[in-house]
């Protein structure tokens, strides 16, 4: 029986995948084909979505981007949308897919397919280990927090594991709010069991019996898929009173955010999970010691937890062998903005920013020169082409005055006005501030007004902006206010001409 794949991924659906899927079903019925439709995850090549794949003895052949009208020709074998074997497409072929190995390959809600493609091997391996070995494996892999802070995951787990408490928790941060990032969503929609397995291993390793996936409300598809996957995992005995019927208890549930960016900050997230106002908590106490409901809690990003099954199954060394410096393993880059080839690209750390922008993303979609690249979401610095030799790694980007954040990369061509981008950073902060600390609460609003004065050519406004940025950077309670100066000051540093307005010019 032939299998035809049309993604159920939200990006693919936004580009018309549902209509394409309906067309596939119509053609199957009309032609009386012995074929089934599988709604898989996305392969991550968003510029090719909706990407239709047909299973052949030689492998899976790709067609895209497809409209419903393309389906008859595809089934006739004469489509001009033919892309050849999907895994030979250069964007895909050059990747190192560890975390995203199954995303796009399998039916996301088939536990049997999940297992057939290496799923649950990590959990089984972890169950066979001693508690010390589990933590050591994560620690030795070099895995660091993929949410942006880059804190060593093994150390966090060890802290929770060693904290004595009657109850501990695993909280997955799936409040993926950075503009230009979508890896968490793609993983949850495309391979939800991978996250479940990662959380189960985490619970097993630290002694937590309960997990929560905190998903932003803007991700209805991810919420639905995760909830269904948890139900399936529970029914199959993967989750519940005994992990896989042999381990300790671990169960989990989905909790939906209420539309606040700042609830992606781990302490706000915990407040939100507890039903409180989503404001940042001062640290210490660390969530690892006093987290959800005051109990020791692992708070990890989706990508951190989803990397763990592979690490457990293949060993710490195999993961650590990828990467550079202190950035080990792979990073799922999310490429967006003004690019020819946008999407998700999982590679080992170490590619230069220029390689990512030009070789992988293919330069700008507009064909105009690249002016700036914002890395790490709305709080990340803007990089000019002169810094394109910066290798993609935590320390390397920090050294260049930026951060990799959640590895979102947004490309701008030379039509962008960097003063407008700096103002947008302040505006974003003003809209999303939780309002707890003063530098962020009042500072972001004053930042917008001050940049407006700069735009009008007010000479007193520029030094005030740099003073404000220092107050926000050093004075804010969390990264929202503390990192908003990064895009502002990087824009000011690298493109001073965009800020050099005169009153005459403004008039």
């Amino acid at each position: 029986m032939m299998r035809i794949f049309v993604p159920r991924d939200a990006a693919a659906r936004a580009l018309g995948a549902d209509a394409v899927a309906a067309a596939v079903l119509r053609e199957i019925a009309a032609r009386g084909l012995d074929a089934t439709l599988v709604r898989n995850g996305s392969r991550g090549m968003v510029w090719l979505e909706p990407l239709v794949e047909i299973e052949t003895p030689q492998g899976r052949t790709a067609f895209g981007p497809c409209a419903p009208a393309d389906i008859p020709a595809i089934l006739d074998g004469q489509s001009d949308k033919a892309l050849g074997p999907v895994e030979a497409i250069p964007f895909f072929a050059r990747q190192t897919r560890l975390t995203f190995a199954r995303v796009g390959l399998t039916d996301p809600l088939s536990l049997a397919e999940y297992e057939a493609h290496g799923g649950l091997a990590g959990l089984r391996a972890a169950l066979a280990m001693t508690p010390e070995e589990r933590i050591a494996t994560v620690r030795d892999s070099g895995l660091r927090g993929r949410g942006g802070a880059g804190f060593p995951t093994g150390i966090k787990w060890a802290t929770v594991a060693q904290a004595p408490a009657p109850q501990k928790y695993v909280v997955c941060n799936a409040d993926e709010g950075d503009s230009g990032t979508f890896a968490d969503r793609m993983l949850m929609e495309g391979d939800p069991f991978c996250l479940i397995e990662g959380m189960a291993i985490c619970g097993l390793s630290v002694g937590a019996t309960k997990g929560y996936v905190y998903i932003r409300s803007e991700y209805p598809d991810a919420i639905a898929v995760m909830e269904e996957a948890i139900r399936i995992a529970r029914a199959a005995g993967l989750l519940g009173p005994a992990l896989l019927g042999q381990g300790p208890a671990f169960d989990m549930e989905v909790r939906v955010g209420a539309g606040a960016y700042v609830c992606g900050e781990e302490t706000s997230l915990l407040n939100s999970l507890e039903g409180r106002r989503g404001v940042v908590r001062a640290k210490p106490p660390l969530p690892a010691l006093e987290g959800l409901f005051g109990r020791p809690t692992v708070v990890n990003n989706v990508l951190s937890l989803a990397a763990v099954p592979w690490i457990m199954a293949h060993g710490a060394a195999a993961y650590r062998d990828y990467g550079l410096g202190r950035s080990r393993g792979t990073i799922p880059l999310q490429i967006a903005g003004n690019v020819k080839r946008g999407g998700l690209c999982e590679v080992a750390f170490g590619l230069s920013l220029g390689e990512i922008v030009h070789d992988i993303a293919g330069g700008t979609a507009s064909g105009r020169p690249v002016k700036a690249v914002q890395v790490g979401g709305p709080l990340g610095a803007y990089f000019p082409p002169s810094l394109f030799d910066t290798p993609f790694g935590y320390e390397e980007f920090d050294g260049a005055g930026g951060l990799i954040g959640h590895a979102g990369i947004v490309v701008f061509d030379d039509s962008v006005d960097m003063l407008e981008q700096a103002r947008f950073a302040m505006e974003f902060c003003a809209v999303e501030s939780c309002g707890k600390c003063t530098p962020c609460r009042i500072g972001a609003v004053r930042g917008m007004e001050t940049i407006d004065r700069i735009a009008q050519g007010d000479p007193e406004a520029l030094p005030l902006l740099t003073d404000l940025c220092e107050t926000m950077k050093l004075g804010s309670l969390c990264a929202l206010g503390g990192f908003t100066p990064y895009p502002v000051l990087s824009a000011l540093t690298h493109w001073p001409e965009d800020f050099a307005r005169t009153r005459r010019a403004a008039a």
Binding site: G435, R446, L464, E470, T471, G475
Partner: protein, 591 residues
């Protein structure tokens, strides 16, 4: 209210009224660190801010106070710590051994001034320097950090975002003057959350919240559309006391101005004995502020002591001595010497004519212990008889009898601080949130920390279920069956072997206890046997008794009203016995 003591005067010890910023920490271990070159040794867990304050170094702050847990929002208390990145807030950073802290550096000065400039950019113009300057902490901090000018201004053709500008501004909210005792001006709010936290942590009413987020954040009482008066607010005044701006202010201060002197006194409204600083201008009381060193209230108050002091200047108040020869004559204002001589002469004359025992003295329950002591001293030493009594003795005679029978003395077994150690609280016939609100707040705080509560009362008092507090068991007995209920509890404790034999053997006559145990073990005292009489479901009573016996430190609070009958005496006796049986007395958190 009665004058009690003036700290630092007439040999009375002076109290340290500095706000140390964060609450004290108890620990057996101490930590030594260096702050601005001074070595400081403090208990482990103490904040850097408090350690500095103890060393005499004041770190600027606006959202911290030593009666509330640190919050970390105002960002004035930032410090530099050698070997650590950034500028952590000293209120939320615990001390560490060998830590080297700098509270004043060029960077910190710039940051504090920068933060203060942001605060000032959203304050009413007349607030920081003009007619609304009431010497608030915000105004003082602006001076401390050396804020000289606010450089923020509106772009040309635009306006600055503001909560303070009233004209044509959707963010502006007018003053909420609905509460009779204080006003809330949202324009002066700096969103430090102190009021919200005081309402939550100290008072336990949860009437206040922060509405909106980011720049739009603002404190609001109750739900949308409500004002202070229609909210759950009980006017305890804790929010006003902690407000570092003019946002929450006593109406009396707005009307009269700031007080210039203060006297420590004890509130006589109820038996808790809260201490206050009566703040005055000359002899005009401006406000009553709960005294942080008061052992009963620890700086907290209820509406009565805090605001209901209008009697101090009421026109019906007698301000001068008055005498009259007979009841059909009008009162005549006289001097003190004449009045005292008159009273002494007449009292002596009565004694001379009718004998030494012909007169006596009774004091009101509104009197302090000291006043009652003085009256009985007068009766015994001067009048030479024992004809003296106090209302409190009458109300509490069952208490006294029960305690004396059980313990040999009729004194309370614990102080109010003991509630901080209670694991299981039993409330019988009392309604603390109404009758003794300040103690209720302290109890609620402990309950929110995880202590369990058993309420034995026909009424569904507020503590049975109120925000973040819920009684584990409410035994809604029929009036008059309290002895049966307590005996049934003792029955459960004894028959299920939950009593602490070692404790009892150390403190009681074991044979007498066995006699008592035999009595309460009789099946006719079982919860099942008495259920029809008391109306308390046997399963609930058993569960409550088990909780009381096994839930940790037990304490109970009783109120005299239920004890005025003879069963009340038995009840008191019975309850004490069951407490003793369980080993619940004479340790912190017990009793």
């Amino acid at each position: 209210m009665k004058d009690f003591v003036i700290p630092g005067h007439d040999g009375a010890p002076a109290f340290d009224d500095r706000d140390l910023g964060t609450p004290a920490r108890r620990s057996n271990r101490t930590v030594t660190l260096t702050i601005d070159g001074f070595a400081v040794t403090v208990p482990e867990g103490t904040s850097v801010m408090r350690a500095a304050a103890l060393a005499g170094i004041e770190i600027p702050k606006l959202c911290a106070t030593d009666s509330l847990e640190a919050w970390g929002s105002c960002r004035l208390c930032l410090v530099e710590i050698e070997g650590r990145r950034g500028t952590p807030a000293s209120c939320t950073t615990p001390v560490a051994e060998g830590m080297v802290v700098h509270t004043q550096t060029d960077t910190l000065r710039r940051l504090r001034r920068g933060v203060m400039e942001l605060y000032a950019s959203d304050q009413p113009q007349q607030g920081l320097a003009g007619p609304m300057n009431r010497g608030t902490p915000l105004q003082r901090m602006a001076a401390v950090v050396g804020l000289n000018a606010v450089r923020y201004k509106a772009p040309e053709g635009g306006r600055m975002a503001s909560h303070a500008e009233p004209a044509d501004n959707p963010r502006f909210r007018p003053v909420d003057a609905s509460n009779p005792y204080f006003a809330y001006d949202p324009a002066q709010c700096i969103v430090c959350n102190l009021c919200v936290r005081a309402c939550d942590e100290i008072q336990g009413t949860f009437a206040l919240t922060i509405e909106g987020r980011g720049f739009e954040s603002r404190m609001r009482p109750g739900m949308a559309g409500e004002d202070y008066l229609s909210s759950d607010c009980v006017s305890c005044g804790a929010c006003v006391q902690v407000c570092p701006t003019g946002s929450l202010m006593e109406k009396s201060v707005i009307e009269l101005g700031l007080p210039t002197r203060s006297v420590v006194t004890t509130c006589a409204y109820c038996g808790v004995g809260c201490q206050f600083e009566a703040e005055a201008q000359g002899d005009t009381v401006v406000r009553m502020v709960p005294w942080k060193h008061g052992k009963a209230n620890r700086g907290h108050s209820c509406v009565k002591g805090r605001f209901a002091w209008g009697y101090a200047t009421h026109r019906d108040r007698i301000l001068e001595p008055m005498i009259r020869e007979s009841i059909d004559e009008p009162w005549r204002v006289v001097g003190w010497d004449e009045a005292i001589t008159f009273a002494a002469t007449r009292l002596r004359a009565i004694q001379a004519r009718h004998g030494r025992h012909s007169i006596g003295g009774i004091t009101s329950s509104r009197c302090t212990n000291e006043e009652t002591y003085l009256v009985q001293k007068l009766i015994r030493s001067v009048f030479g008889n024992n004809n003296t009594d106090t209302c409190a003795r009458v109300c509490h005679s069952p208490t006294g009898y029960g305690l004396r029978q059980t313990f040999g003395t009729s004194a309370g077994t614990q102080d109010f601080d003991s509630v901080e150690h209670t694991d299981v609280a039993v409330i019988i016939g009392a309604n603390p949130t109404d009758g003794h609100p300040v103690f209720a707040s302290r109890l609620k705080r402990r309950l929110r920390q995880g202590a369990r509560l058993i309420v034995i009362d026909p009424r569904r008092i507020d503590l049975v279920r109120s925000p973040h507090v819920e009684a584990a068991y409410h035994l809604a007995l029929r009036p008059g069956t309290n002895v049966a209920v307590l005996t049934a509890m003792a029955h459960v404790i004894v028959t299920e072997g939950l009593h602490d034999e070692r404790f009892i053997r150390e403190r009681c006559d074991w044979e007498e206890f066995q006699h008592y145990a035999e009595f309460v073990s009789d099946p006719r005292h079982s919860p099942e046997a008495t259920e029809a009489l008391t109306g308390v479901p046997a399963a609930d009573l058993r569960a409550a008794a088990r909780l009381y016996a096994t839930g940790g430190n037990g304490g109970d609070l009783l109120r005299p009203r239920r004890d005025r009958t003879f069963p009340g005496i038995d009840h008191r006796h019975g309850h004490r016995q069951s407490g003793h049986a369980d080993g619940q007395y004479r340790r912190p958190g017990w009793g």
